[in-house]
Assembly symmetry: C2
Homo-oligomer: 367 residues x 2
């Protein structure tokens, strides 16, 4: 077990397994970053002494160093924060990434105080975990932990101060001042994997499922007419559901955090699926096939007096995928999963360099 | 062995292995498509009777059917073309993909006539393979084959007619009229995998290497100061090269078909690598790190009187990757490989639906 760059979900899975086994393991979490760094606060790795670990807290600069500390952390049983200054003397180097930057990393024994985070993640629930990372308040020690809906593990005034804060969308350190002193609490916003639903069980679905799972989506394959029998085709899927076009949205949970790709290769099945999906909150309904086919669908909807708002139709992405130009099945899958990830994160998929403008003037390409 | 949706390179690899073993195997190639289909002409699968096959010629509609024909094709030893009409009675369905469309598939014993294509692909060379798929010229039989630079396997007038044609960029069927009759020849343009060079051997390089290999790139990892010792980190790489920033472009072949990602996490190494790479024809030099860091590089280039044209600088993509919004290592890798694939194919990476315009008017997002 020594894989650094793994999907986030694998780090949580391994943490859960180690808790189940009661294994000796250390949890390392990036709690603060100054300067540019490869990973953000909340990045985690799990280390078992003498064996290795999973997860990346940097681009590979600190993992070996942190691993060496695991035995000591477990022997004392105490949580502590290590600060790593990866800046070089030369300011220029300080503008780098990965090995350049100052990182604070919380090191702690992986124990049942982290169990609720693991369980929530596995159950598909978002959680916010509050962990003390510095304190001169003698009631609070580094490593003390509570959860958003159960802050009573903390003294009432601390709990009240934390309750009044909006945790926001990303993990960060917060300062809590009380009459008894000041504590710094790491507010770890842990979002469960978003759901990625693939409607269709054709051979072209497998690379989409595989890639989506690697991107930390929780993947459900929904098929019509006996999909269950094809479950072995999709080892990376979290679930394979056999349903029908008309009961799709009853049998599969679909909400505003769910992206869906419709690829049954059957026009009527696809049309019924799209019709049902547009009545959900799914922000992304990717539809395999040429645009003409969707235009035909729109005609059929009109003939049947099925109407949708522009906002609903705007959630249909067809032809599906980003414009990458590749035609091999894996390349088609890449283009689909990249588009779904972008829409999930409210991005557009173009090159990052174009978005920041700058460098030198360029025409805005062909859009 | 029964994987349909595999990288193209795996189909060619398996074909090579089966030729080496002298195994009984059938090669199936899509030679014509009417209507919309998932795969284009040139898509291939290799089938060994009783065992299975690799490769996709449709989205899974025909593979089982074609596999059933393998024994017969091998028993007769004759190549033949099968036409599959996957249109339904309803015209609307004919607008579908995958299982809707009319496909001509060339079925033939996999034999040494295909050896040169396999060898060229493995060696990184592009090839054009000419195969007769219909003929009333009694000198030409279905399955007769010659290569672009050795057309003398065909009668001189046929060879001359083919020599005069530009094969173009994609596989297609061509008609050859001579005094002896008319033949249809499938012109199979088989491009060898493009090269994807990753400069850097950090842990964040592995998911980039893995994903690029799945996308049919031939991947070379170039590292400084003893990269060879890290070769086991990159099982998906075709080569791991230990070099130095100043000899990078001598030790690694880089041409107009090569995409490069620079991610050493060392400012000076990155700067020297970028400086060297801008003097090659690589159309894509992705550079990990924030834009400020590249601006600093530009300042250093200016201080050292190293000058580049706008066209050269336009090949630098930094911050690297498409704007997908993901921060996990696998998501960063997805964004990088997707951008490299797009640039390699002369695309911009935005959603396909925006490029065709249509559906209903949308603002052109934020670029």
């Amino acid at each position: 077990m020594s894989e650094w760059s793994v999907p986030e979900s694998e780090v949580m899975d391994v943490a859960g397994d180690l808790l189940d086994e009661g294994a000796d393991a250390m949890l390392a979490t990036v709690v603060d970053v100054r300067g540019s760094a490869y990973r953000r606060p909340g990045a985690k790795m799990v280390v078992t002494p003498g064996e290795g670990g999973v997860g990346a807290i940097t681009a590979g600069c600190l993992e070996d160093e942190v691993r060496r500390l695991a035995r000591g952390v477990l022997d004392t049983g105490d949580a502590r924060v290590e600060t790593y200054d990866l800046m070089t003397d030369d300011d220029v180097w300080g503008m780098g990434v990965g090995c350049n930057g100052v990182l604070d990393v919380l090191l702690e024994p992986l124990d049942d105080s982290f169990r609720r985070a693991v369980d929530a993640y596995a159950a598909g629930d978002d959680t916010v975990v509050y962990t003390v990372i510095a304190s001169d308040d003698d009631r609070l020690a580094v490593g003390d932990r509570a959860y958003a809906d159960a802050l009573d593990g903390f003294p009432p005034d601390v709990a009240a101060a934390l309750e009044d804060r909006d945790p926001g969308g990303s993990s960060h350190a917060a300062t809590v001042d009380t009459d008894r002193g000041t504590a710094t609490v790491f507010v770890d916003v842990i979002d469960a994997p978003a759901d990625f639903v693939v409607v269709g069980t054709g051979h072209d679905a497998r690379p989409v499922v595989d890639l989506a799972a690697r991107m930390d989506f929780s993947v459900t394959v929904a098929g019509f007419r006996g999909a269950k029998s094809k479950a072995e085709r999709f080892p990376a899927a979290d679930a394979v559901v056999s349903t029908s076009p008309r009961s799709l949205t009853d049998d599969v949970d679909i909400d505003a955090d769910t992206v869906v790709v419709v690829m049954t290769h059957n026009y009527v099945d696809d049309r019924l699926a799209v019709e049902a999906l547009l009545d959900t909150d799914a922000p992304y309904v990717g539809l395999m096939g040429p645009d003409d086919r969707f235009q035909e669908m729109l005609g059929d909807f009109a003939d049947e007096d099925v109407t949708f708002t522009d906002a609903q139709l705007d959630r249909v992405y067809t032809p599906v995928g980003l414009d990458l130009g590749g035609g091999a099945p894996e390349q088609v899958a890449l283009s689909i999963v990249a588009e779904a990830l972008a829409v999930h994160n409210d991005r557009t998929g173009g090159s990052l360099r174009r978005i920041d403008g700058h460098i030198h003037d360029r025409p805005a390409a062909d859009d």
